[in-house]
């Protein structure tokens, strides 16, 4: 499916979605509440079958955490980028998509480990890289510790 068809199809699923500005992949911006059933719908509808989540990451912007999902179809070879903005930086929470794409379980553990974003009903939300008693979330812009030597 081409870029416009994908965006229009998502528009039918999620009425108040806003198309994004990404030139490379068709981008859709949705809210955290609509994320989960959009994910299920995208995977189930035969025209899209977006069954391969190849990248899920978070970005610490001024207006909040941007959760970015890159999904692609292993059969039809088209991709889609979903963006969710979490304005609340003190206690960021977003529903998990690990039941839709199993790979998300570990991407989300890494995001929780380095950003501190909590994922609702995630099977095993623990730190994946750092020690469990580590204080703070390193990839946040306001992360400070005495161990790092800045240059």
């Amino acid at each position: 499916m081409t870029r416009e068809e994908l965006i229009s199809l998502v528009a039918t699923l999620v009425p108040d979605m806003k198309p994004g500005a990404n030139k490379q992949y068709p981008e859709v911006i949705v809210t955290a509440a609509q994320l989960h059933e959009l994910a299920i719908a995208l995977k189930k509808t035969p025209e899209t079958t977006l069954d391969y989540l190849f990248c899920e990451t978070a970005v610490d912007r001024k207006d909040g955490f941007h959760m970015i999902y890159y999904v692609s179809s292993s059969v039809l070879h088209h991709s889609l980028m979903i963006r969710v903005v979490i304005p609340d930086k003190l206690n960021p929470v977003i529903p998990t998509v690990s039941d839709v794409w199993r790979a998300a379980e570990f991407y989300e553990r890494e995001i929780f480990d380095l950003f501190g974003i909590k994922f609702e009903n995630h099977p095993n939300l623990k730190r994946i890289f750092l020690d469990d008693d580590w204080v703070g979330y390193p990839l946040r812009k306001d992360y400070k510790d005495t161990f790092t030597i800045e240059r």
Binding site: D51, V59, Y70, S74, W101, I128, P138
Partner: protein, 373 residues
């Protein structure tokens, strides 16, 4: 009346937890498998990583774009050129510039040479995992030939930092073309030796066939790409899906098998070496002349988000750059192949013996600093 042996040992059936810990010959680095064993069979397995987490993504936020390549080739050090090529392509895509054909040819030849060198080292380590020490000497003997070519052109054997955003650090050595053709001719005679030594070896087949079955759905669900995913029929070769550099100009086929056991993940890599040799042969004689570095005032990515997918020796590497127009990225995320290839190991090795677990983790070809970044 006669209590058979099987009834006596009801009490001894409980499991115990053994750490195939950070310092273990078969985890190829500092990765800890917390395996719950019952007797010799693995009940379940929890991989713990983070023993080599150096915080490269946080460091990259304070480095300029040309400095990034010195960290990316230390992530997956066995596909150093391909990692640097990924960052360079992403920055060039951000700046909207295009490198000359000469650079594209040289980048693709170096990438395929790196893929062969990486598969050679994987092959020697995989043989040693299963107890065959000879593969170590065969594999490293031929790999030294490639390292000599890298050293002559780029100055370093393993981590070259040669491909930079905007082109190449400097031009290749004058007899680069002669030595690469020499190597290809030499290696075409040596590769059948690898097959005689391991592929047709009945003990090796007994140890790897039917072990660690990974279904196609699992491969897609867990995002297992590269030779490990293609062993189960997952068509994920980025050189075919989103061709970059000189890949549109060459003809090669994507090796996939639908069986999905350890032996077929092994076969994918062996056949990929032949494909890499033919790619190099198609390119090596036609390297065009041209500038090797673009004249750019400053390497700065304009404001926006960019994503570049590249096929490394282990799978799909994605570089995601968020830039505010500053010389250093506001955020950079590396979608590394090993991170996704690792976590399926629990699903495919449950129920196997612990010796099979060593074969399965060897067939996944994990490089641990690529997992932890």
């Amino acid at each position: 009346m006669e209590d058979t042996v099987v009834d006596i040992d009801l009490k001894e059936k409980e499991e115990y937890i053994i750490n195939m810990g950070p310092q273990h010959p078969s985890t190829h680095g500092v990765l800890r498998f917390e395996t719950c064993l019952q007797g010799e069979t693995v009940k379940y397995l929890i991989p713990h990583c983070g023993y080599i987490h150096r915080g490269i993504e946080k460091m990259s936020e304070s480095l300029t774009y040309p400095q990034l390549i010195h960290l990316t080739d230390r992530m997956d050090y066995l596909s150093a050129h391909i990692n640097n090529e990924a960052v360079s392509l992403c920055v060039e895509k951000a700046m909207g510039v295009e490198v000359s054909d000469r650079v594209k040819y040289i980048r693709t030849i170096l990438a395929e040479l790196t893929r062969i060198a990486s598969h050679q080292l994987w092959w020697s380590a995989f043989g040693m995992d299963l107890g065959a020490l000879t593969t170590f000497f065969y594999g490293l003997r031929d790999r030294e030939k490639i390292l000599d070519i890298f050293e002559e052109s780029t100055g370093a054997r393993l981590l070259q930092s040669f491909i930079t955003p905007g082109g190449l650090m400097y031009d290749v050595h004058p007899n680069f073309q002669k030595r690469v053709t020499e190597f290809v001719k030499y290696f075409r005679k040596k590769l059948p030796e690898y097959d005689q030594l391991l592929t047709d070896n009945i003990i090796f087949r007994e140890r790897t066939q039917g072990i660690g079955y990974m279904s196609l759905e699992d491969a897609i669900e867990f995002g297992v790409t590269g030779p490990s995913g293609r062993g189960s029929g997952f068509h994920c070769d980025i050189r075919k899906i989103e061709p970059y550099s000189a890949y549109p100009l060459v003809k090669f086929d994507e090796i996939t098998f639908d069986v999905g056991d350890t032996y077929h993940r092994y076969l994918v890599r062996m056949k990929e070496m032949w494909q890499s040799l033919s790619i190099i042969e198609q390119l090596i004689d036609g390297i065009p002349q041209g500038p090797i570095m673009l004249e750019l005032k400053a390497i700065k990515a304009p404001k926006g988000e960019y994503y570049q997918r590249v096929e490394t020796a282990r799978g799909e590497l994605g570089v995601f750059i968020v830039s505010d127009g500053a010389p250093s990225p506001a955020r950079i995320h590396y979608r590394t192949p090993n991170f996704s290839n690792l976590f399926i190991i629990n699903k495919i090795s449950a129920g196997h013996k612990i010796a099979d677990l060593v074969a399965i983790s060897g067939s996944l070809d994990l490089v641990i600093p690529d997992i932890d970044r």
